[in-house]
């Protein structure tokens, strides 16, 4: 432990603590901009500078370790002048565009500007006039707003090992750009949206499809049907001023009806369906000498990554479409038929925790219903914005159940939202299919939690199956390199592109810290435990779907509607 004095307050902190951590310990918040709690220290914005006794230079609180007897002052006139001047420098080289900005009201730079009472900026306003990058259907870049904190680069390179972003040029001409030149679409970007979470400002964000939705709702000739992904509800509360997990499902549904959706269904339905298809695919591969290990295929960021960096392993990918796309192809076939609705009138919307889903929906492979299977993908953040615009008081909304068909789900589908959830859900079903015995304890706890890579050996009545789970693409890369080298001991591997799985998806409420993601994971398993049905094959509507329409897992209809193949992207990478 080291004894230090911060603004006159004495405190003892662990060796190696920074001034920032020590100050937090005594309840003093030092302002930061480039600092990110889950990333390496960058120390490039200098907004956190403090005075250290005996030192002429100010020290960056985020990088400066404390030492025994250190005396720190966090808000002397010298410090305030420095922070204010640095903010003025940044702000005078930044579009004064808050009113039109995607991060209006949720921007670290805006907050700092308010906290430091920036009024008459003495520096002349200069905007760089760089072009917006609207090349992808999922993520935009607005380089004029970039404050060059480099948090996005860290997210993309360290967490995701995609390395789609880097710094180009020097001095005041420095820019964060796609690494292979050109636009984001030309880069190895997988559209996971983790850079969006990392960005403190509005320099990277999701392409918003709110206007498209409003137009569809306004059109009297369309039937607007939506599906909701499992991870959305938990985090949506955060967008509308509630605690994580506190927005009840049926209140959420009621809210959507107020917005004008004609039918509200659940992606959980096709999550259960995915388990039946994927579980049987695994068994088929195990028994017929198919390509192993089999990889899950529900995370579109991961699919993009596999196509870009591991095209030689595409045969290992499960041929199952993601739950979103299974839903899309069923809604314009089976469901429309059952509901007696002309499929061309259906506008199929999905509400997703994910930015890559926007890209996935637009893939040419995804029109097996004869139409584009999913027309509009909205992120949790976008639906949050619509809810705020709606003026609804959620505490007074009358709860409303999901529509049927394709609204029913089990706990197994709910846990799809967390890393390890697909694995656990699959095991609940595969176990019963293989052993023909009832699974008394459905909890596969090895699969839970935030650890980067988890693994286990499962005994299916004598058949031993080795499984592994990874979240974030840098962890996926470790497992993939093993497979590529022919050294993988596994039969089945679950990969989720985002930290924590979908609860940490690129479309979720902006979250800087993994602690928030861990909180959401907790809420997921609470919901699972609270449900009467917790195995996908127990979903009554899925049973009906097989009886009436699909007839059997991996059958002819399934292949037509629920399975697909992916292709090498042949992109230049670092």
């Amino acid at each position: 432990m080291v004894n230090v004095t911060i603004d006159g307050i004495k405190v003892s902190v662990p060796n190696g603590s920074t001034i920032l951590q020590a100050a937090k310990e005594v309840g003093i918040k030092v302002p930061t901009l480039c600092y990110h709690p889950d990333q390496a220290v960058k120390a490039n914005c200098r907004v956190c500078v403090c005075e250290v006794e005996g030192n002429r230079l100010l020290q960056a609180a985020c990088s400066q370790p404390v030492f025994e007897g250190m005396v720190v002052k966090t808000k002397t006139p010298k410090v305030i002048e420095a922070r204010k001047t640095i903010l003025e420098l940044i702000l005078s080289h930044h579009p004064q565009d808050c009113l039109n900005c995607i991060r209006n009201g949720n921007c670290e730079l805006q907050d700092l500007s308010a906290e430091y009472i920036i009024r008459d900026n003495p520096f002349e306003l200069k905007v760089r006039g760089l072009e917006k990058d609207l090349s992808t259907p999922a993520i935009f870049r607005d380089p004029d707003k970039c404050v060059l904190c480099r948090r996005c680069i860290d997210a993309c390179t360290v967490i995701q090992s995609v390395s789609a972003l880097g710094v180009e040029k020097r001095g005041c001409e420095s820019m964060v750009v796609p690494t292979m030149g050109g636009n984001l679409i030309d880069s190895p970007c997988v559209m996971c949206g983790q850079c969006v979470h990392a960005c403190p400002v509005g320099a990277i964000g999701e392409i918003e499809d709110i206007d498209k939705l409003m137009a569809a709702i306004a059109d009297p000739d369309t039937i607007v049907v939506t599906q909701i992904a499992p991870a959305v509800r938990l985090a949506l509360g955060e967008e509308i001023g509630m605690a994580t997990g506190d927005l009840p499902m049926e209140v959420f549904v009621a809210g959507l009806r107020h917005l004008g959706f004609d039918y509200v269904l659940h992606t959980n339905f096709t999550a259960d369906l995915t388990i039946l298809e994927e579980g049987n695919e695994l068994l088929q591969r195990l028994t017929t000498g198919g390509t192993l290990p089999m990889f899950t295929s529900c995370s579109p960021g991961w699919i993009n990554f596999c196509e870009t960096y591991y095209p030689d392993l595409l045969d290992n990918l499960s041929t199952c479409k993601s739950p979103q796309q299974m839903f899309g192809s069923l809604v314009k076939t089976y469901w429309a038929d059952k509901m007696n609705i002309e499929p061309q009138k259906v506008v199929s919307v999905s509400i997703m925790p994910c930015t890559a889903k926007k890209f996935e929906a637009a893939r040419p492979e995804m029109n097996s219903s004869g139409y584009q299977d999913v027309d509009i993908v909205l992120t949790t953040r976008e639906i949050g914005k619509l809810f705020r615009m709606s003026g609804l008081d959620f505490s007074r909304l009358e709860p409303s159940p999901f529509d049927s068909w394709m609204g029913a789900y089990t706990g197994a589908a709910v846990i799809f939202g967390a890393t390890g959830g697909v694995m656990e859900a699959a095991l609940r079903t595969v176990y019963e299919v293989v052993t023909k015995k009832e699974l008394t304890d459905v909890n596969f706890t090895f699969a839970r939690g935030f650890e980067g890579i988890k693994e286990a050996e499962i005994d299916l009545d004598g058949t031993k199956v080795k499984v592994a789970i990874a979240h974030t693409l840098s962890n996926a890369r470790k497992l993939m390199d093993q497979v590529r080298a022919g050294e993988s001991p596994y039969h089945f591997i679950e990969i989720m592109a985002c930290p924590g799985g979908c609860i940490g998806g690129g479309g979720q409420p902006i979250t800087k810290a993994n602690v928030k993601r861990i909180e959401r994971i907790g809420a997921i398993y609470d919901e699972d435990a609270s449900l009467p049905l917790r195995k996908s094959h127990d979903n009554p509507e899925v049973k009906v779907l097989y009886d009436e329409f699909l007839h059997e897992p991996l059958g002819h209809k399934s292949h037509e509607l629920l399975h697909t193949h992916y292709h090498a992207k042949n992109k230049k990478c670092l």
């Binding site: 200098r46 002429r56 010298k78 002048e81 640095i86 940044i90 002349e124």
Partner: protein
């Protein structure tokens, strides 16, 4: 006083730099032998006793630096020579490397022994291809003679950016990354090249080592200014009669350098200002010319000894114009990593240009003062911290030049 004293340039003109035997015949590599026969701690203690401080600009105690790397536990340590010499008007490192390359190698080898390193790099300015050739020849000869033992030295060409002279940017560049400084601590002696303990010293610093080892720390400590003992190589440019180099004890005053060694100002013109230490040096007025060219004495007048470049300006020079050109240099050389330097150097040039073009006001000067002050203690590295010095010092000492622009 005001006499030359050659320590680091002791062999200048006396040997053929391409012949190691010449160097050895003048006692070369005796110091390394002596060092290797000395206990490492005692060796570093003697360097500490010499009070030799870095000649690359930051003036850190050399023996102290070595002791940190010596104490660090690691499977690999590195010795890096900073020969980036990017400071316009400076060529002292080139003088040493061109004329006595073995001295540098010997100094590095002594360091390697002291800290326990087996690998060294010389990061040589990209514009010195000639020097690289000489160094490579010298290394080949030293290897052939076996004088370096198991210590291996490699020469790397610099990337051409001014900031790559900053030791951590240099390390990044050596690692093949974008040349940008790291935050400190950790300092290189703890975590440097590839995160291993690394000593980065300037060419002139290493060149002093063999003599110190040979004659003893106490001897060195008795030369020049006590707090920054030894000699300093100065390179004189600008409006001065003897535009050449001198090696002088560090208690020599600026006035002596300009008027005695430098021979004064040409064509009978009057002295106006002198900028010492390179582009980021402060402009010093007549009234401060009796300051010795020692590190702390210079710091005391808000100036810096830096690389030892001495740029003299006569009465006809427009300091606002000169400073504007310097501001442009820094706008161009900022690496762009940290906000106050990236944005600040750009604003500094804008404001200086505005004033220089006769469109400025006293308010702009006040803003420059604030901006410069903030940069000097907020920027991540020495470049941004020192970039405002020319602006701040001219505003302080030569207000008339600014006022003349407001007419």
């Amino acid at each position: 006083m005001a006499e030359e004293m050659r320590i680091v340039l002791r062999n200048y003109g006396k040997i053929d730099p391409l012949k190691i035997d010449d160097y050895i015949s003048l006692g070369g590599y005796n110091a390394l032998k002596k060092a290797c026969a000395t206990d490492k701690t005692a060796l570093i203690d003697d360097i500490k006793k010499s009070n030799l401080r870095g000649r690359g600009g930051a003036g850190f105690n050399c023996g102290m630096k070595w002791s940190f790397a010596a104490m660090a536990q690691a499977d690999q340590k590195y010795v890096v020579c900073n020969a980036d010499e990017g400071e316009p008007g400076t060529y002292k490192d080139r003088l040493i490397m061109e004329n006595d390359p073995q001295t540098l190698l010997e100094g590095m080898a002594i360091c390697a022994y002291a800290i326990g390193a087996t690998k060294g790099y010389i990061y040589c300015r990209g514009e010195y291809p000639q020097v690289v050739k000489i160094l490579n020849t010298a290394i080949a000869q030293a290897k052939e003679k076996g004088v370096l033992g198991d210590f291996d030295i490699e020469v790397r060409m610099g990337a051409g950016a001014y900031v790559c002279g900053e030791e951590t940017a240099l390390i990044e560049s050596l690692e093949g990354n974008r040349g940008e400084p790291r935050y400190k601590p950790p300092y290189p002696p703890a975590q440097g090249l590839w995160q291993k303990p690394t000593i980065v010293n300037n060419v002139e610093t290493f060149a002093a080592i063999p003599v110190i080892v040979e004659k003893g720390g106490e001897w060195f400590a008795s030369i020049g200014a006590p707090s920054y003992p030894g000699t300093k190589v100065l390179t004189l440019t600008g409006d001065i009669n003897n535009r050449t180099f001198f090696e002088v004890p560090t208690n020599t005053t600026i006035r002596e350098v300009i008027y005695k060694l430098g021979g004064g100002i040409p064509s009978g013109k009057k002295f106006k200002a002198v900028q010492i230490g390179g582009t980021s040096g402060a402009f010093i007025p007549e009234s401060q010319l009796d300051t010795p060219i020692a590190f702390d004495a210079m710091t005391a007048i808000d100036a810096a000894l830096g690389s030892g470049a001495v740029f003299v300006l006569d009465e006809t020079r427009d300091l606002v114009d000169v400073t504007t050109q310097i501001a442009k240099f820094f706008e161009h050389e900022s690496c762009g990593k940290c906000a106050p330097c990236r944005e600040g150097t750009m604003r500094m040039f804008d404001l200086m240009e505005k004033i220089n073009d006769g469109e400025g006001s006293a308010q702009d000067v006040a803003l420059l003062n604030k901006l410069g002050r903030v940069m000097s203690y907020s920027c991540l590295c020495g470049l941004g911290q020192a970039a405002p010095a020319p602006v701040l010092s001219t505003i302080k000492h030569f207000p008339a030049d600014y006022n003349a622009k407001f007419a």
